[in-house]
C-alpha cells in the first residue's frame, strides 16, 4: 500500500509505502524538507506535526517527544509509517535552515 505525503509550507510531495518511514521516503525521493539526523528517534531534528492522516510509530526518545507532544500529534518523521495519506508540518527550529536552502 502506498500513500501520499505532503509537507505544508514547503509544498513538498512524495510517496511512502506502509512499511517505510516518512523520513526515509523523503530522502529516497531525493527530496529535502525535513532535517535528517540520526534516523533512530534519538536526536529530534526530524520532528513534524501530523495535521491530517494516520500513522504507526515506533519508540521515540521522550527527550523530544513527551506525552504532551504525542497528544498534539507531534512525532519524529524517522519513526512513523503511514497508514493513510499524510499532511505534515515541519516543527520548530529545523524548518528554518531548510527553508533557507530550499526557498
Amino acid at each position: 500500500m502506498q500513500y501520499r505525503v505532503h509537507l505544508e509550507e514547503l509544498e513538498l510531495d512524495f510517496t511512502c509505502r506502509q512499511d517505510q518511514n516518512v523520513l526515509e521516503c523523503m530522502i529516497g525521493a531525493g527530496k529535502k524538507g525535513i532535517q535528517v539526523g540520526c534516523r533512530g528517534g534519538g536526536c529530534g531534528v526530524c520532528q513534524v506535526e501530523v495535521l491530517e492522516g494516520e500513522y504507526a510509530a515506533r519508540p521515540m526518545s521522550k527527550a523530544h517527544i513527551d506525552e504532551e507532544a504525542l497528544a498534539q500529534r507531534r512525532v519524529l518523521a524517522c519513526c512513523i509509517k503511514p497508514r493513510s495519506d499524510l499532511l505534515l508540518k515541519v516543527v520548530g527550529k529545523i524548518s528554518k535552515p531548510i527553508q533557507r536552502k530550499h526557498p
Partner: protein, 311 residues
C-alpha cells in the same frame, strides 16, 4: 607520568530505546562481545575483544536515548583516594558508590561535570582477558573472536554541553590530562571544542559546545587499520545502518573515521590511526575559518549535522 593516575575511558553507559535492536547493532553487526545480560534491569554488558576488563559498554533500555554515564579507570585505589578531595576542591560534589553496585567493579566516585554529564572514576574491575591468556599468548585469537567491524577497544567519547572550558580545566588541573587540540571561534576566540588526552593518544575525551547540558555526541571504537574502517563501512552499507559521515579523515586528531548511528540515534564512530601525543606536545588550535579541514580533511567539507545532531 608514565601513565599513572587516570588511565582511560573504561566504561560507557548508553541509553537505548530498544534493547533487542541495540544488541543486533552492537553485538551482531559491530562485533562487540556480550559478556552479561540483566533481563530485569534491561541491560547488556559488552566488551571489545582486546580489552582485558570484564566489560566496557553498558547498554540500558530507557525511554530516552543518550548517555547514561562515562566511567574512567584509574591506576589504583590510592589514586581514587587522592583524587576525591581534588575533585571536591574544584567545586564538584562527589558521591560514593560501593564496590559491587556496578557489577564486577570496585568502588566508584561519581560527580556531575560542568557540562552536565555524569562521570565516575573506578580503580578495579574483574578482568577476563582477551582469550589469548597472559603466558606465551600468541597474537591471534581463535576464529570468530574478532568479528563484525573488528573493534579492538573502546577509545574515547565526545560530550556536548555548556561550560566546556570548565570541563577542560577540570581534566587538566585535577585529572592531569593535556589539551591536545582545540577549536575556537575565529573572532571571539571562544572555545567550540576541546580534545583532551591522558595517554599518548590524540584524545581520550572531547567536549563540544552545545546549548543543552548532558548531550551525547558520539562514542568511538578503535580499529587496527584504515582498511578495517573501509571494511566496517562495507558492513554499514550492507546492513543499512544510517551513516552520518562516510569514510574520511579528521583534521583534528588525524583519525581515519566513519560515523554512523545506532538504532536509537546515538552516534558511533570507528576509526584508526592518529598521531602520538606526549605531555610536551604543544596544543594544536583550529578556528572557524578552517572548519572543513578541521572536521574532515579529505574533502574539507564541514558537516552541519555533525554540530547539530546529538542525543
Amino acid at each position: 607520568m608514565a601513565l599513572r593516575g587516570v588511565l582511560r575511558l573504561g566504561e560507557i553507559g548508553i541509553r537505548v530505546l530498544d534493547l533487542d535492536l541495540a544488541r543486533t547493532h552492537y553485538v551482531d553487526r559491530m562485533g562487540l562481545i556480550e559478556v552479561m545480560c540483566d533481563e530485569k534491569e534491561r541491560k547488556i554488558y559488552c566488551k571489545a575483544w582486546d580489552e582485558h576488563d570484564h566489560h566496557s559498554v553498558v547498554l540500558r533500555e530507557a525511554d530516552e536515548a543518550g548517555l547514561d554515564y562515562v566511567a574512567f579507570k584509574v591506576y589504583d585505589d590510592q589514586t581514587l583516594t587522592d583524587l576525591e578531595p581534588k575533585v571536591e576542591a574544584f567545586g564538584l560534589e562527589v558521591a560514593h558508590i560501593d564496590a559491587g553496585v556496578y557489577p564486577k567493579s570496585g568502588r566508584r566516585l561519581e560527580f556531575i561535570l560542568p557540562s552536565g554529564h555524569r562521570m565516575q572514576l573506578f580503580a578495579e574491575k574483574e578482568q577476563i582477558g582477551n582469550t589469548l591468556g597472559t603466558r606465551n599468548p600468541g597474537v591471534m585469537p581463535d576464529e570468530g573472536v574478532i568479528r563484525g567491524f573488528r573493534i579492538n577497544r573502546l577509545d574515547h567519547c565526545l560530550l556536548g554541553g555548556p561550560n566546556i572550558d570548565e570541563c577542560g580545566r577540570l581534566f587538566k588541573e585535577v585529572f592531569d590530562f593535556d589539551l591536545s587540540e582545540r577549536i575556537e571561534d575565529e573572532e571571539s576566540r571562544e572555545s567550540l571544542a576541546l580534545f583532551l588526552t591522558c595517554s599518548t593518544k590524540p584524545h581520550d575525551v572531547a567536549f563540544v559546545i552545545q546549548p543543552e547540558p548532558g548531550r551525547f555526541h558520539h562514542v568511538s571504537f578503535l580499529l587496527e587499520s584504515a582498511t578495517d574502517v573501509i571494511h566496517a563501512a562495507d558492513l554499514i552499507g550492507k546492513y543499512r545502518i544510517p551513516v552520518d559521515v562516510g569514510p574520511n579523515r579528521h583534521g583534528v586528531t588525524r583519525g581515519n573515521t566513519i560515523y554512523y548511528f545506532d538504532p536509537s540515534g546515538n552516534r558511533n564512530e570507528v576509526f584508526s590511526g592518529g598521531y602520538v601525543h606526549y605531555p610536551d606536545t604543544p596544543t594544536l588550535t583550529w578556528d572557524t575559518s578552517q572548519m572543513g579541514p578541521a572536521q574532515f580533511s579529505q574533502d574539507n567539507v564541514p558537516r552541519e549535522s555533525f554540530l547539530t545532531v546529538v542525543t
